[in-house]
Symmetry: C2
Subunit: 252 residues, 2 copies
């Protein structure tokens, strides 16, 4: 299920019709402020297809698995090639392999990723080698009808994100290096879709030991708020025994 918009067919992709090919796609979440809205909303980048099947339809960024690269590497590479983005968090989501999900037989290893807001704009501007015309951001609650089974894949990724934010610390993957507790709370509120008590939220997150207070404050309209950074001593998310094999670090 390749979605390399307009770039030439670089990677060796067996064209045979009687073989199962392996593709890698990624659902990339970030938070975007919509104008005149109180709360930022989850958004993701999609790539417009420029060939059949599903020509001209929006799809998840992705591409074929190269025979010389691991699945993780393929996810990061295809993501960069199609959108120019480098996520702060990347984790395998699920392998989709229904027979009829594509005209030819394709098994897609799908990843899901988190992006810091500053990385989101940077990626789409600075990089080259991809086609910015055919990359666009969509709010997750206002998606078009996508190619393949990508709508269902995004539904599943959203479910995983909302689940994981409850027992893990991945919300930091959506924030810049320094942030206030209100910033962090806003991330949780956007993902979970409900308001959280500022007082209780503070105690919970302070007691977890995942935050390091700085000496800096963000000044604004009201009382200055202390800036925190993430404590990298504690893992962003417990991936189990897999994490020990390929430790993943945020690029900062």
């Amino acid at each position: 299920m390749p979605t390399q918009s307009s770039q030439p067919a670089t990677i060796a992709s067996p064209a045979a019709e009687d073989v199962t090919r392996v593709a890698v796609s990624t659902v990339i979440f970030t938070l975007r402020r919509t104008d005149a809205a109180d709360c930022p909303a989850l958004a993701l980048p999609l790539v417009r297809r420029t060939r059949d099947p599903y020509d001209d339809r929006w799809a998840l960024p992705g591409g074929w698995l190269d025979i010389t690269e691991s699945l993780d590497a393929a996810a990061a590479r295809t993501l960069g090639e199609t959108t120019g983005l480098a996520p702060s968090y990347l984790e395998q989501l699920y392998a989709f392999g229904a027979v009829d999900r594509s005209p030819t037989r394709v098994v897609s290893i799908v990843y899901w990723a988190l992006l810091r807001p500053d990385d989101a704009s940077a990626g789409l501007r600075d990089q080259d080698g991809y086609d910015p015309e055919n990359v666009a951001w969509f709010a997750v609650d206002d998606l078009p009808h996508l190619a393949f089974d990508h709508n269902e894949i995004i539904d599943y990724a959203l479910w995983r994100l909302r689940n994981k934010v409850g027992y893990s610390r991945i919300a930091h993957g959506l924030l810049a290096d320094e942030f206030t507790l209100a910033d962090l709370r806003e991330v949780y509120e956007s993902i979970l879709g409900r308001r959280l008590d500022p007082a209780n939220f503070r105690r919970q997150v302070e007691g977890s030991g995942t935050l390091l207070p700085t000496d800096r404050f963000r000044t604004g309209n009201h009382r200055p708020a202390r800036l925190y950074r993430y404590n990298h001593e504690v893992a962003l998310a417990d991936l189990g025994p897999l994490a020990r094999r390929s430790p993943r670090r945020s690029p900062s």
Copy 2:
């Protein structure tokens, strides 16, 4: 990473060396009573390989993905062909795709499964089409050095099982149709590796609404214990949006 012990090469498996092939394997857990041990222990069936690579080494049951079947179907099929077993619970675990995990490039979609004790013995006896000589059960804490990266895969499956038993009701997948609360508690104790308070366990599980009391009792050495059955109205595990597409039922 096929492990079809001695059966002929039935499935079309592209022999080309410059192509990525897709295999499906399954980690099947069940509980087995070891003699003179107070608590049953987790065990899983392995298949002895009868060809290179890793000839004569034990490996997870599995086989090549057929081009006409879904991943789920391939997991169930290869499982039956190699071991004659039909699990009560089957869920995708992870896709393993390191470049060097096999001499040729193989991406393995790994499933994990639970088996009722009565199914465990039945499977290995009654079915045919597989080679019982090359299938054996091993305790999870006493595994040999396996083929490929299968030791790491089992570690990860164990981690997932122990995690999931905490927030899901999958323990029923390891029990017969009717069971006492002590049976169920024993399952939890075996998986988690620690004793649980019988009184608190009873209240917790009774309050969850997942059990239906029957009129029958198991009589034994002491006071008879009420038999329960699982309430199929509530899902065995919340698989998210994926469950709605392919509902999985226990064979009973």
